[in-house]
């Protein structure tokens, strides 16, 4: 099958400042769009490379992570940690894929670990913060991630309105239980119960969704 050329109209590196002179059109079949520029930049100034990589992908990555972890705070922390390790552990020197593929894979992987940890209290902290260069995923696993977040979305949508509201107020708007209680005019313990119920339902809906055996193999590099 032939490689996918870049359709420059929709997906140019327009969020990137043109720091390397004119933006030359890349020939199709090469590593695509911004990637080449990033690669050149990293060769010269890795610090600046990290910063621009952050500007380019941070928002989208948070947006992606939140589909799995369903908490704004956790998603933001998780993505920031990936970037921090990217710089501090000099991951950029060792990756074989594009920066974009690496970032998305790692964020998915970490989100998955977090979710599994949150919903499976028997696991210990040790899988929570592993970070590394994943070997290429099998096609089915790549697709499974998308199906997992769709399933999570369905589960959230199927919560009772009250339950859903409390859950979103807490996890997306970052409100404290006390504030939620006031806003919804219920007691503090009722909020707690709603949160527990939401998580339990999520746990039930996602039963059998864990492709643990596949993913354990990906906990490759331990820092």
């Amino acid at each position: 099958m032939q490689q996918v050329p870049l359709d420059d109209t929709e997906n140019s590196g327009d969020s990137l400042p043109r720091f390397l002179g004119s933006h030359q059109p890349l020939q199709p079949g090469k590593v695509t769009d911004d990637e080449l520029i990033f690669r050149q930049l990293f060769a010269q100034d890795p610090k600046r490379g990290c910063e621009l990589l952050f500007r380019r992908y941070y928002t989208n990555l948070v947006n992606h992570a939140v589909r799995f972890v369903y908490s704004k705070e956790v998603a933001e922390d998780l993505v920031a940690e990936v970037y921090t390790a990217f710089w501090q552990d000099r991951v950029f020197e060792r990756i074989t894929t594009s920066y974009r593929a690496y970032l998305y894979q790692t964020v998915r992987h970490r989100s998955y670990n977090y979710l599994r940890w949150e919903l499976h209290p028997s696991d210990s902290l040790d899988t929570l913060h592993t970070q590394g260069i994943s070997p290429a995923l099998q096609p089915d696993e790549v697709l499974h991630y998308s199906e997992l977040h769709q399933k999570i979305e369905d589960a959230i949508q199927s919560l009772t309105p009250q339950c859903k509201r409390a859950f979103l107020l807490s996890r997306i708007e970052g409100k404290k239980y006390l504030e939620i209680a006031q806003e919804m005019q219920i007691s503090n313990s009722a909020v707690e119960k709603l949160m527990i119920r939401a998580l339990n339902q999520l746990r039930q809906e996602l039963k059998g969704e864990w492709f643990i055996s596949l993913l354990l193999g990906l906990v490759t590099y331990a820092f």
Binding site: M1, Q2, Q3, V4, D7, E10, N11, T32, D33, C50, E51, R55, Y57, Y58, T59, N60, L61, N63, H64, V69, S71, E73, V74, E76, V79, A80, Y83, T84, Q88, D89, R90, T97, S98, R100, A101, Y104, Y114, E118, P121, L125, D126, L128, H129, T130, G132, L137, P139, L143, E147, E153, I172, K176, Y177, L216, G217, V219, T220, Y221, A222, F223
Partner: protein
């Protein structure tokens, strides 16, 4: 197939609208490794078209820039005090200088306020230390940890300390039943009267083990929790916590005598502990090896002791690289 058509199928798939036939097709398409790049490119494009809430990227970027710049930001006085070019310039100049000196002094006091207000005990990688506080409380700090104790007023009204890392506290009960509070990052705190417990507060999460007496935990979300002897509370960075009961204190206090306590511990977790304890990065590139589990108690004052044990126990190679240490299985001829 046409790239545009593939892109449409991928987008449909992300939206959860793909048919089984389309899914099968994508699976085949992804068997070609080269297509993974296109897949993630589409994923990024798809995400940028479906924002869910406003992300404060600027704030996060500022934090990240701090990570990128290791050194402290310097204060430039010219930015603090704009000098006017009016006729009054001459007259006010001395005052301006005086004001900027005062401002600099205040800024300095502000920047170094922690050093002025607190006495900080810090342990290096691989080192544990014991301290006795003014009220008689004994603290043992694990490696790579710090304890901040207020220079003024400690023991007058409250007894509050700040911990980063891991430490064991043997708190003296005072005659006036004064509370002793251990604060950690993220509004997590442990409150006691007089008792013995171990607090772990690092990047991975928080953990408290109580050996004697009773303690109260204040969790970030405003919840409170009372612990009994033998209880272990683990708190993830999300604020979610778990309370378990342990029969033996050993795993939680073994570090005091430089012992490592492994109980069905994966090599991944062992590598984590080495990093926390000795500040040495350990990489296990083989997934199978990373999953191997170890049990037993090992004494290691230096990272090398532990590497030697691991090498013998698992018959693996320990290879020193520029920025990290790599553990691999030896290749048989």
């Amino acid at each position: 197939m046409e790239p545009l058509l593939i892109k449409r199928i991928v987008f449909d798939f992300f939206d959860g609208k793909a048919t089984a036939i389309q899914r099968k097709y994508l699976e085949e398409w992804l068997t070609d490794e080269a297509n993974h790049e296109a897949y993630y490119q589409y994923l990024d494009e798809w995400e940028s078209q479906r924002p869910q809430f406003s992300v404060d990227a600027e704030k996060a970027l500022t934090a990240y820039q701090r990570v990128l710049e290791d050194d402290q930001p310097t204060v430039t006085p010219s930015k603090v005090l704009p000098v006017s070019r009016s006729g009054l310039f001459q007259k006010w100049l001395p005052w301006g200088i005086a004001a900027s000196i005062t401002l600099l002094g205040l800024l300095g006091a502000y920047v170094f306020r922690t050093q002025i207000l607190y006495e900080t005990h810090r342990t290096a990688f691989g080192q544990t230390s014991e301290y006795k506080l003014a009220d008689g409380t004994k603290v043992t700090l694990n490696a790579n940890s710090s304890l901040r104790v207020p220079r003024f007023g400690f023991g007058n009204k409250t007894r509050e300390v700040y911990l980063e890392g891991e430490g064991e506290f043997k708190v003296t009960h005072t005659a006036n039943n004064q509370r002793f509070i251990v604060r950690t990052a993220d509004r997590f705190q442990v409150e006691v009267l007089g008792t013995e417990f171990v607090v772990y507060a690092r990047a991975k999460g928080k953990r408290v083990f109580l050996s004697k007496g009773k303690v109260k935990l204040d969790l970030p979300q405003g919840q409170q929790l009372y612990m009994r002897p033998g209880n272990v509370v683990t708190v993830a960075n999300s604020g979610r916590y778990r309370l378990t009961q342990t029969k033996t204190a050993r795993p939680y206090v073994a570090w005091k005598d430089h012992w490592f306590y492994f109980d069905n511990t994966s090599l991944t977790e062992v590598a984590d502990q080495i990093q926390e304890q000795f500040g040495i990065k350990v990489v296990v590139p083989e997934p199978k090896l990373a999953q191997r589990r170890i049990a037993g108690n090992f004494r290691a004052e230096q990272a090398d002791d532990l590497f030697q044990i691991l090498a013998e126990l698992l018959t693996i190679n320990v290879v020193k690289k520029r920025h990290y240490i790599e553990l691999t299985t030896p290749k048989h001829p």
